[in-house]
């Protein structure tokens, strides 16, 4: 146990995800030894992120304005929406430069065991966005785990009921750069399901 401010800092750092007591202590002592200007910059970044960042009113991605950069970009395709669980998934898909449509962030996946149902996600808001009929394709890009799959099957049922023309799910399959023999049965099975014709 340390005195006053040092212990307070260790306790606060220890509350962060993935930071245990030892790591918290290490970070605290790193900050103590750091240049005061660096520490000031870190403290400023922490307060600024809470003060300025909010959720986009349209897609619920993180944003500094009422609408995020993607929703306010008129060059993005209005007819396609990609549904993801978290804002970090938007960044992952943007890095591919394959998708030019817009996004909708659900804020998680349906997880009955954790008490998270469809009403706790931004599903109603998604249906509202689809009401005017502009969107012709919804791409469901929830995580490729069972909660993500179940959320996708729930969404696809809802979207068909409201008359969306095309509901698609991101393909699952073999990772690039791996050996086939190491693939698990579920992944390999899905790779077979989603196989495609090779051009002659």
């Amino acid at each position: 146990m340390y005195e006053g401010a040092v212990q307070d800092l260790i306790d606060e750092l220890g509350r962060l995800p993935g930071v245990g007591p030892k790591s918290a202590q290490r970070i605290a002592f790193h900050l103590l030894q750091a240049d005061p200007a660096d520490v000031e910059r870190l403290a400023h970044a922490l307060t600024e992120v809470k003060a300025r960042v909010r959720f986009c009113e349209v897609c619920f991605n993180v944003s500094e304005a009422e609408r995020c950069r993607i929703c306010s970009d008129d060059r993005r395709d209005r007819t396609a929406i990609c549904v993801v669980e978290e804002p970090k998934d938007v960044v992952a898909i943007e890095r591919t430069r394959e998708f030019r449509g817009r996004y909708h962030v659900l804020g998680g996946a349906i997880s009955p065991i954790d008490g998270i149902g469809p009403q706790d996600l931004k599903v109603r808001e998604l249906l509202t966005r689809l009401a005017d009929g502009t969107v012709t394709e919804v791409i469901i890009a929830t995580d490729p785990n069972l909660e993500g799959e179940a959320t996708a099957s729930y969404l696809s049922r809802m979207l068909r009921d409201v008359g969306v023309q095309r509901v698609t799910r991101l393909a699952s399959g073999l990772p690039v750069g791996g050996d086939l023999e190491y693939a698990d049965e579920v992944t390999l099975g899905r790779a077979f399901e989603g196989r495609r014709l090779l051009d002659a």
Binding site: I113, G117, L146, S153, D184, E185, V186
Partner: protein
């Protein structure tokens, strides 16, 4: 026993750190176990897909001080993956898995619970019966194995031969007019016959039952389960019937 291997069913998972998961399984020989799957959330993980809820696996672990570490996994049946494609069945399967987690203790062998769980998940994956019926049959039989078998014919208090009309959760099932506590429910006789069939595994009358009686039976089963477990099963509220 630093290294061990057993057949198991994944009950639930929790995220741990950057890319790991704590996986709770019910194993055939050793009962409920908690283990760490290292790096299983990475897309290149060799066994991440096998350590998902509802998967029937052959797992090898290294025994640790607090949690064991998964070293190898093979899929025996991908029930979880099959069930997750149908949202309605999946909500029932999650309720089955959560109940099993509550009814079993860590490192206490529970072969009967294991066999019952594997039967329920297989039935849901193969769509042998309606998922809601499989869930109720599982809940009733899991409680019976746990020592809380409800009575749907003879009086649960005095044993007077039935059939009786009144049902009381705290009394343990149907009660005769003499033993009937205040506040007892009066379900339809068909509902009580359906619940008795589910408890006995008599599927022909259960499959032929009406939605109205299934709905009433589900309510009684859920109330009975939650009263005896003294805690709510969160996923039961989200089951799509």
């Amino acid at each position: 026993m630093p290294l061990y291997r057993d057949e198991a069913i994944v009950l639930r998972t929790h995220k741990l750190g950057e890319a790991d998961r704590i996986v709770t399984v019910l194993s055939r020989r050793l009962g409920k176990l908690r283990m760490v799957g290292k790096g299983v959330r990475r897309t290149k993980s060799r066994f991440g897909a096998r350590l998902e809820p509802g998967m029937h696996i052959d797992v090898q672990c290294y025994e640790g001080r607090n949690l064991d570490t998964v070293t190898q996994v093979e899929t025996l049946d991908s029930w979880g993956e099959t069930i997750s494609r149908d949202y309605r069945s999946w909500t029932s399967a999650v309720a089955v898995l959560e109940t099993c987690d509550r009814l079993t203790e860590e490192r206490e062998p529970a072969l009967q619970q294991y066999l019952l769980l594997s039967g329920a998940l297989r039935a849901m994956a193969e769509r042998d019966h309606d998922a809601g019926l499989v869930l109720d049959a599982y809940l009733l039989r899991a409680m019976a194995i746990g020592g809380y078998a409800p009575s749907f014919h003879d009086c649960a208090k005095c044993g007077a031969p039935g059939p009786h009309r009144a049902f009381h959760v705290a009394a343990g099932g149907v009660v005769c007019p003499v033993c009937r506590p205040p506040g007892s429910a009066a379900p339809a006789p068909e509902t009580l016959r359906l619940l008795a069939a589910l408890l006995a595994g008599d599927w022909a009358p259960a499959d032929a039952s009406d939605d109205r009686h299934r709905h009433e039976g589900s309510g009684l089963t859920a109330a009975f389960l939650q009263w005896h477990l003294e805690r709510g099963i969160r996923s039961l509220r989200m089951v799509e019937r």
